[in-house]
């Protein structure tokens, strides 16, 4: 398995190379000019040209791409056109809030959605099953920013339990950290809970109808063990797959959530960079996300072997 993991990690290099070329090409052909944005509304075309030249944006596509690629391979992701800060530094500054948000969201979503799905499957057709399905439909239907505003209005403005915005680093204490991230995590996790609860329910229903579950029941195994040891473990593979896939969805949702709750994360960084055509930052963040996504998928693949020992790589 170790060799497999190493092979997969090595395989990420060409994947990221293709992603890099794709993103670079896309940005090259997309309208918008960072030099014009920097120069501002008062700028004349001559001003824009001078700035473009000073930024090296007037050089041919291939020269710029190869230079960027060479720098990336040497661990240098370049410098932001706008802020003059190293892209690596900007991502490093922003990664903690985003990772924190995603970890808390995943923790929150898994700890609510999986039991909800299991209970719904166990009590199929009962009121609790219907309630879970209603919650799931609502989670799917209401956009994350609407959930965010409702939560902020209720729990921050009216009840004053949580702050409206901002982020407190974990180094300043777990309490303030959670305090700042609770509402964003609930908002971001709402759709994910819905998805995960439905998948868990559907998979559990299938598992609970299997012969070995009937056998366990006949042997007098208690309900808790049937559900969580025999049932859930066998239903885990599709659930883990959805968690992995959902991670990509969370990256997209984090962009909105970070804007609504003013969290200085990577999501906001990339949105700002796209609006300003800050190419090095866009390229750096997309590369990082693609790497993270590949690694998450690798983790999911490796987790399959834990839940289903028959799977071998």
């Amino acid at each position: 398995m170790f060799a497999y993991a190493v092979r997969r990690i090595i395989a990420t290099i060409p994947v990221m190379g293709i992603v890099a070329l794709f993103v670079f090409s896309l940005l090259y052909i997309a309208p918008g000019d960072p030099a014009a944005i920097i120069a501002g509304d008062q700028a004349t075309p001559a001003d824009v040209e001078r700035i473009r030249a000073s930024l090296g944006l007037d050089r041919p596509f291939l020269v710029r791409f190869l230079e960027w690629l060479w720098n990336v391979l040497n661990g240098d992701m370049g410098v932001s056109i706008f802020t003059n800060l190293p892209v690596r530094h900007m991502i490093a500054q922003r990664i903690e809030p985003t990772l924190s948000l995603m970890v808390l969201t995943l923790t929150f979503a898994i700890s609510f959605a999986v039991p909800m799905g299991v209970v719904a499957a166990w009590k199929q057709g009962a009121w609790i099953d219907r309630l879970v399905m209603v919650v799931a439909v609502m989670g799917f239907s209401v956009p994350v920013f609407v959930v965010g505003y409702i939560l902020a209005y209720t729990f921050a403005l009216q009840l004053d339990w949580f702050p409206v915005q901002g982020y407190t680093p974990l180094s300043q204490g777990i309490g303030p950290w959670i305090n700042n991230l609770a509402l964003p995590a609930i908002a971001l996790g709402s759709a994910f809970i819905a998805l995960l609860a439905r998948i868990t329910r559907a998979t559990m229903l299938e598992v609970l109808s299997q012969d070995y579950v009937r056998t366990a029941k006949a042997k007098g195994v208690d309900q808790k063990s049937i559900l969580f040891v025999h049932g859930l473990k066998n239903a885990a593979v599709p659930i883990v797959t959805i968690i992995g896939l959902g991670f990509a969805g969370l990256i997209g949702g984090a962009v909105v959530t970070e804007s609504v709750f003013a969290i200085p994360g990577v999501g906001r960084l990339v949105v700002d960079a796209i609006l300003r055509r800050d190419y090095p930052v866009i390229q750096g963040v997309v590369l990082m996300f693609s790497f993270v996504y590949v690694i998450v998928n690798l983790c999911v693949d490796l987790l399959y072997t834990v839940f289903d020992p028959r799977i071998r790589y």
Binding site: I38, P163, G175, P176, L275
Partner: protein
């Protein structure tokens, strides 16, 4: 951090739901209009950078609410040799944030760098034979011809401001950003605490020497910093910014959006003020190279369709106190403004008549392309009204919804519409940008010469009057020239003025001492 302490801090944090408010009273928390991307005061015209720069950097002259220029870093100046020799003397005790003395040669280098990025600075340097520092305290301009606007140029608050910085930093290419933010203003920039796109921090500069005299007004007078720290937090979402202000997590929101102002007004803990009477002035710039706006008759006829009140109501609502019409070519209620020649903008609009006027002028249904940057709420609203106005008078309009960056790029195209060209775009300015001709580039008539602003208006008379303004002997002479420029502009129509609106600011009621003008942070205190 030890585990026990970590958990204890965590528990304490959870016990304090509004942890974000647990800031000391000595910190002023501010939400800027947009994110502060650029820190270099000379490098950009972004207003947010100008506001940041006035915290960190100081200027030789200050500007008061009447647009008069007073000494700021200077103790005085003398003018000799038939007004062709200016000697400016620095105040004693001025220090850079790195502890070094402010020297005249630093200021000379700063002026030279700024002048390469500023229109009036460029005019000043064109009139200058030699700019030098004969000693540590004297900045000397030897001019080719008298330039009475020298204090106006060096003290102007419209961006880019003429910020002073150490010589070693000021020697940076003006087309490249400086990397070290060291000024001599009342606050130091704390670069280590910057989170780009989210947070900028300023700490009071203990060794700052405020002017001992002068009236405190706009950027002039003694700048006394009362807060230990000023923290700027970028909150891109307006609803979140409003909630943070209501909740007491932030003290001051620079530009509350029009839709949220009624909500904020209801809150007794929040004040709404209008500190800058110059507000914002909006426009549609036609392309003078492409049909139909290459036809002066069409341009003039379409002026009769512009209902400025309608445009303003689209962005600030129905309250007439929130906007001013008719807007001419200069910022209303400032020295150069007048209402001469604005008759086409007054009275009820008669779109049928305008349609006939357009036809008589030669408009034959040519397609027009109106570029509207939809990522700016205000400009989007103005664009919607403009497209509707054009359609009402029978102009065949293609509404191109785009983003700011793409619009800035496309507007440089001089090609015909079929090849990616354009007919008009919507943009807006701070009122201070339209105080006088030097910085008013939309009023230029220099066609498609190098240095011309997209839209490429050709008007030799506007150019002649602009040059004459620099040589006007006094205020009355300048005002007369501006009056003539406005009359000429109503003939040549370099752009369509769409009205002036008031831009309020919102802050917690316990803040006092805010000055008029754009957001400045000296004199502000709590309680």
């Amino acid at each position: 951090m030890k585990r026990r302490r970590f958990l204890a801090t965590g528990a304490a944090g959870l016990a304090l739901p509004s942890y974000a408010r647990a800031q000391t009273a000595s910190t002023l928390r501010f939400i800027p209009q947009i994110d502060l991307s650029f820190l270099d005061p000379h490098w950009t015209t972004a207003y947010v950078t100008r506001n940041h720069s006035y915290l960190v950097f100081d200027t030789l002259f200050g500007q008061d609410a009447n647009f008069k220029y007073t000494h700021q870093m200077l103790s005085g100046h003398v003018v000799e040799n038939d007004d062709k020799l200016w000697k400016l003397t620095l105040r004693d005790g001025l220090l850079w944030h790195d502890g070094e003395r402010v020297l005249a040669r630093d200021c000379v280098a700063s002026i030279k760098r700024w002048a390469k990025r500023d229109a009036i600075g460029d005019a000043l340097m064109n009139a200058t034979e030699e700019l030098s520092a004969p000693d540590d305290k004297t900045i000397q301009f030897r001019l080719k011809k008298p330039f009475p606007l020298l204090p106006d140029a060096l003290g102007k608050s419209p961006s880019p401001m003429c910020a002073m910085m150490p010589e070693r930093i000021a020697n940076t290419d003006p087309f490249k950003q400086i990397t070290e933010i060291i000024g001599s203003g009342p606050y130091r920039y704390v670069a280590a605490e910057r989170v780009q796109g989210s947070r900028n921090v300023y700490a009071r500069f203990e060794k700052y020497q405020p002017r001992p005299d002068g009236a405190l007004d706009w950027t002039s007078g003694p700048k006394v910093a009362h807060f230990e720290r000023v923290v700027w937090t970028t909150i891109p979402d307006a609803a979140t910014a409003a909630a943070a202000l209501q909740n007491g997590e932030q003290d001051w929101w620079e530009y509350p959006t029009a839709d949220l102002q009624p909500l904020l007004r209801k809150n007794p803990k929040i004040r709404i003020a209008f500190p800058d009477p110059t507000g914002g002035v909006e426009m549609m710039r036609p392309n003078h190279l492409a049909a139909p706006f290459n036809n002066p008759g069409v341009r003039r006829a379409f002026m009769h369709a512009i209902d400025q009140a309608e445009f303003m109501q689209a962005i600030v609502g129905d309250d007439p106190a929130m906007y001013h019409t008719p807007l001419g070519m200069f910022c209303p209620k400032t020295p150069m403004a007048s209402e001469d020649g604005l008759e086409p903008l007054r009275g009820k609009r008669d779109y049928g008549k305008v349609k006939e006027m357009l036809k008589a002028a030669g408009y034959a249904g040519e397609k027009t392309v109106l570029m509207v940057p939809t990522d700016y709420v205000t400009l989007k609203a103005l664009g919607d009204v403009m497209a509707d106005t054009m359609a009402r008078v029978g102009i065949n309009v293609d509404y191109v919804a785009t983003d700011w960056g793409s619009m800035l790029q496309r507007r440089n195209k001089k090609e015909p519409i079929e090849q990616g060209g354009w007919s008009g775009f919507i943009t807006g300015w701070a009122g201070t940008d339209h105080l006088a001709p030097p910085a008013h580039i939309a009023l230029r008539g220099n066609g498609d010469q190098a240095g011309a602003w997209p839209g490429w208006c050709v008007s030799p008379e506007l150019e002649r009057l602009r040059m004459a303004w620099f040589d006007a002997p006094n205020l009355a002479g300048q005002q007369e020239i501006c009056r003539k420029m406005q009359l000429q502009a109503m003939q040549d129509v370099p752009y369509y003025p769409l009205g002036q609106y008031q831009q309020p600011t919102a802050y917690r009621a316990d803040l006092t001492g805010m000055l008029n003008g754009f957001a400045t942070f000296w004199n502000v205190r709590r309680g």
